[in-house]
């Protein structure tokens, strides 16, 4: 039964790739069928597993592209401190790659990120600067930009404004998806900086016009809404809304529930944003008579274990779901 349901995708004797170093092992992530989560038998659902990157998230692609760009443009030197505002994954990736290249790395993170993210940042040698958790990522960005303005040693990688972020997805993520799934009709990814969505959308618009590009984003918890006015909102400079076809919000509760469903039904251990992306993919699938959806799952589940992402009943997680923990 297993053999008939799951034909082998890796041929016997196929040689696994060999790389010069860990930087070169970024990308080329697997795409797998997750049909048990599709609400319709005539809509195929596939997931691109970015957890397979070296530090465990899609942000390895971005971090490498940002550092490459800073080096190529001469904006970073031996005395620079590479700085980024991040809820974790970008910081972890920058810390690993930056340290290998001899840079000091400092990251501004909301103080409600999970313990694992903080531990990984420290393991890779990053200096961690806390921003108030109730201000969410917007607060981290504001603090990081303030630091850059006050101390010339800080060089902001700036995943929110640097076009190198979407460009790497246009050059790698998009082509990988189309090569593996040429029949793609819809692409769904999470919206944080907009890098994945912008880059993949630009590639698909050029290479396979008509593919719908759909964003999934979190509803900020009640405890992460410390803005004083709407003027403190933030739209990343790299985000171009015209490249999307639809955009949906997903609550942290629904995202976590779907993440658990993914683990239970497909055996894939992913982070909460993956649940949000798959929930939106399933919603889009319900509106299709047939077709193929590719959902990009940004990271694995390891960094969320301590917060009870998989073990604590959702009804007991109310404070954490409302922003006590930064899930994305």
């Amino acid at each position: 039964m297993v053999a008939s349901q799951a034909p082998a995708t890796q041929a016997a004797g196929q040689v696994a790739p060999r790389f010069d170093g860990i930087d070169a092992a970024i990308g080329g992530t697997p795409i797998v069928e997750v049909g048990r989560l599709s609400p319709s038998p005539s809509v195929r659902l596939l997931a691109k597993l970015e957890a397979s990157n070296p530090t465990g998230s899609v942000k390895d692609r971005v971090a490498k592209a940002l550092i490459d760009d800073l080096e190529a443009s001469g904006r970073i030197g031996p005395d620079s401190i590479l700085l980024e505002a991040t809820s974790g994954n970008t910081g972890i990736a920058l810390a690993m790659l930056g340290k290998r290249r001899g840079y000091r790395v400092a990251v501004v993170v909301p103080d409600n990120v999970t313990t694992e993210r903080r531990q990984l940042l420290a393991l890779h040698g990053a200096e961690v600067i806390d921003s108030p958790g109730h201000l969410g990522s917007n607060g981290a960005i504001a603090l990081a930009r303030d630091l850059v303005a006050r101390d010339s040693r800080f060089v902001m990688a700036d995943q929110y404004a640097n076009p190198a972020n979407p460009r790497i997805h246009e050059a790698t993520t998009g082509p990988e998806i189309l090569a593996a799934v040429p029949e793609i009709d819809v692409f769904v990814a999470g919206l944080g900086t907009g890098g994945t969505l912008m880059g993949v959308a630009r590639f698909l618009r050029r290479s396979k016009p008509g593919v719908r590009v759909v964003a999934a984003e979190p509803i900020p918890g009640e405890n992460v809404q410390g803005l004083r006015s709407m003027d403190e909102g933030f739209v990343p400079e790299i985000f171009d809304p015209s490249l999307l076809d639809s955009r949906y919000v997903v609550s942290n509760r629904d995202a976590l529930a779907m993440t658990r469903e993914l683990l239970a039904r497909e055996g894939i251990f992913a982070g909460p944003s993956s649940g949000a992306v798959l929930l939106v993919a399933a919603r889009v699938a319900k509106e299709m008579s047939s077709g193929t959806i590719v959902a990009l799952l940004p990271d694995g589940g390891w960094k969320y274990l301590s917060a009870g992402a998989y073990s604590t009943p959702l009804d007991e997680l109310e404070d954490e779901l409302e922003g006590g923990v930064a899930w994305w």
């Binding site: 917007n138 809404q225 803005l227 909102g233």
Partner: protein
């Protein structure tokens, strides 16, 4: 009447309410109904041109109305409308 969910940042100008029920056949009419009920919200929600403030996102049953028909998106009586400030991540 549809339910409009307000983010924390807007509640001080809406008597602390998290959600209000407002009548209206389109998003434009619903937003106008919200502002009529709580006039102090006008400058938070709308720009000088009468369109939505650039940092305000409006979702109809979870879907961004900018990708539907914008302010002219039809609203049904049991629909949920959510107003959220623009927030980044990563």
């Amino acid at each position: 009447m549809s339910t409009v969910r307000l983010p924390a940042v807007l509640r001080a100008q809406a008597d602390g309410q998290k959600a209000i029920d407002v009548a209206g056949g389109t998003i434009r009419e619903v937003v106008a109904g919200v502002v009529e009920r709580h006039p102090a919200l006008a400058s938070q929600l709308l720009g000088p041109d009468g369109d939505l403030h650039r940092f305000v996102n409006v979702y109809l049953n979870g879907q961004d109305v900018r990708y539907l028909a914008g302010l002219e998106t039809p609203v049904g009586p049991t629909d949920e409308i959510r107003l959220l400030p623009a927030i980044a991540g990563g």
